[in-house]
């Protein structure tokens, strides 16, 4: 089975994890028009290439991020969400 390396639990079978899809920009609720809400809700990144996605390790309920290639299915790296916050 494909192995996903969890930042907290180490390498585990991928069926222990749940994908929550590509990271989306968080809209400002006070300024966002309906069309932008629609975009936020329904249009996720789907281009052929590398995406940053939310994943959860189900048994430990730990959410983290992974960079993955949507064509080759290579998991390039996984990291804790604090790293994303530090970047932005």
């Amino acid at each position: 089975m494909k192995i996903l390396t969890c930042p907290m639990n180490g390498p585990r079978n991928i069926d222990e994890f749940q994908s929550f899809g590509p990271v989306r920009a968080e809209p400002d609720p006070d300024r966002t028009a309906d069309t932008d809400w629609s975009r936020h809700l329904f249009r996720a990144e789907n281009r052929r290439g590398i995406v940053v996605e939310w994943w959860r390790h189900v048994p430990s309920n730990y959410f983290f991020l992974a960079e993955r290639d949507l064509v080759t299915n290579e998991i390039i790296r996984t990291f804790d969400a604090s790293e994303r916050r530090a970047q932005s």
């Binding site: 089975m1 494909k2 069926d15 749940q18 994908s19 899809g21 590509p22 309906d34 069309t35 629609s38 809700l41 329904f42 249009r43 996720a44 789907n46 281009r47 052929r48 995406v51 996605e53 949507l70 064509v71 080759t72 299915n73």
Partner: protein, 413 residues
């Protein structure tokens, strides 16, 4: 025998006729360019040429005829959906399948043997009642049946009495059935090409020339084609192709895997699916048991197969029919599904005036091949969207009028 065969083969009385003539060189322009030579595109070409007198049509296909999701789906035909809009649309799909062999003068091997969806929990049974009532209201044959009726419909089923996955009842859909996918595509292709439609295989779209709010031309690897109208019907490629025209569809692509066993004598006379096991089975006319389930659990553009999905499908199949345990798998494959947020297709207008969409067919497209082609042809010929397609418009995501069909089958959708 060989001599007689040779004599027959060379006889003038029995000329060999290819169903689909070789395509000539691309013309500089067509009234309608259909992108995608799968069932949907070919069905649209047939309806345009037969019912709307539009014969300057080119169907352009990157690979070979019907080699994408038309070839990879598991050929379930049914109308037991959840929303009234969905049921009305798929009901027309089933009705068109009933007369399709006559329509195409080609045996599509439509077998209306009924579909039985199993409930292993009370909650599932309650959801079946809602679906059955909506189905009956709209004139489809959909009813909830009890344990005894399930046993009578499929005597070989493991009812798991007293077990964790006891079958409590089912949703019996007498209108459900199956057909030969290749024959559907070939039949449409043969009819369309007889009326002058050109089918260009190995012709890949590389971009669109968009001027203002119109597509002027389609750029392909074999040259530029000026076009009156364009239809996108490219299955798993819909997101990419629409994006070339600047249209970003609310689609995410997931692989969908399936497999067949070695051929067996006929024993499974209905389509059977299980909500809890995410598995469905149908016996093909060749005797193979076709086994399918839900899409892969995360986005991917790869038609690779995985052992874990195969194990999952095999586990479900063997639970329902324990005697399948010694049966060998013959083939397994995957296709790329273009999933929408509400598990309903996107049909009709795009932000561009002459670009039409037949997209978002996810895991539910084959059954709609006749009706999507018919209604999209009507849309293109008349320049307006018929009422039956209006609920499926791309705008529904901006007006938050979604058509939720999640849960309308045993699998992920």
């Amino acid at each position: 025998m060989p001599l007689r065969l040779l004599k027959y083969g060379l006889s003038r009385d029995y000329p060999v006729s290819g169903d689909i003539p070789a395509a000539p060189d691309l013309k500089p322009s067509y009234d309608v360019v259909i992108v995608g030579g799968g069932g949907h595109g070919l069905s649209c070409a047939h309806h345009l040429s037969k019912y709307h007198g539009i014969r300057s049509v080119a169907v352009i296909e990157k690979g070979y005829l019907a080699g994408g999701n038309t070839a990879r789906n598991t050929t379930t035909i049914r109308s037991n959906y959840i929303t009234p809009e969905g049921i009305a649309f798929y009901k027309e799909a089933v009705e068109l399948f009933e007369g399709l062999s006559q329509e195409l003068d080609f045996n599509v091997m439509f077998s209306q043997r009924g579909q039985l969806t199993l409930a292993h929990t009370e909650a599932t049974l309650r959801s079946f009642h809602a679906r059955a009532e909506m189905g009956k209201h709209l004139g489809t044959r959909t009813e909830v049946v009890d344990q005894k009726a399930v046993e009578e419909l499929v005597p070989s089923l493991n009812m798991d009495h007293g077990g964790a996955l006891e079958i409590l009842g089912g949703l019996w859909h007498a209108d459900g059935g199956t057909a030969r996918h290749d024959a559907v595509a070939w039949g449409y292709a043969a009819q369309a090409s007889r009326r002058g439609v050109e089918i260009h295989q190995r012709t890949e779209v590389e971009g669109f020339e968009v001027v203002g709010d119109r597509v002027q031309a389609v750029k392909t690897n074999r040259g530029r084609i000026a076009c009156g109208q364009v239809l996108i019907a490219t299955g798993g490629m819909n997101y990419d192709v629409a994006l070339m025209a600047g249209v970003e569809l609310p689609i995410r692509c997931y692989p969908l895997q399936a497999m067949v066993t070695q051929p067996l004598k006929p024993w499974l006379h209905t389509l059977v699916s299980s909500v809890s096991l995410h598995t469905y089975l149908v016996q093909s006319s060749r005797g193979e048991i076709v086994i399918g389930g839900g899409s892969d659990p995360y986005q991917l553009y790869s038609t690779r197969s995985t052992l874990d999905m195969k194990e999952h499908l095999a586990e479900g199949a063997v639970h329902l029919f324990p005697f399948l345990q010694g049966v060998r798998l013959l083939r397994q494959w995957a296709g790329i599904t273009d999933m929408t947020p509400d598990y309903s297709p996107i049909m009709g207008a795009s932000p561009l005036q002459n670009l039409w969409l037949d997209c978002g067919w996810g895991t539910w497209g084959f059954k709609a091949t006749p009706v999507a082609g018919k209604r999209m042809a009507e849309t293109i010929a008349k320049g307006r969207v018929p009422d039956i397609l209006k609920p499926f418009a791309l705008e529904r995501f901006e007006t938050f009028r979604l058509l939720n069909e999640m849960g309308a089958t045993a699998a992920s959708h």
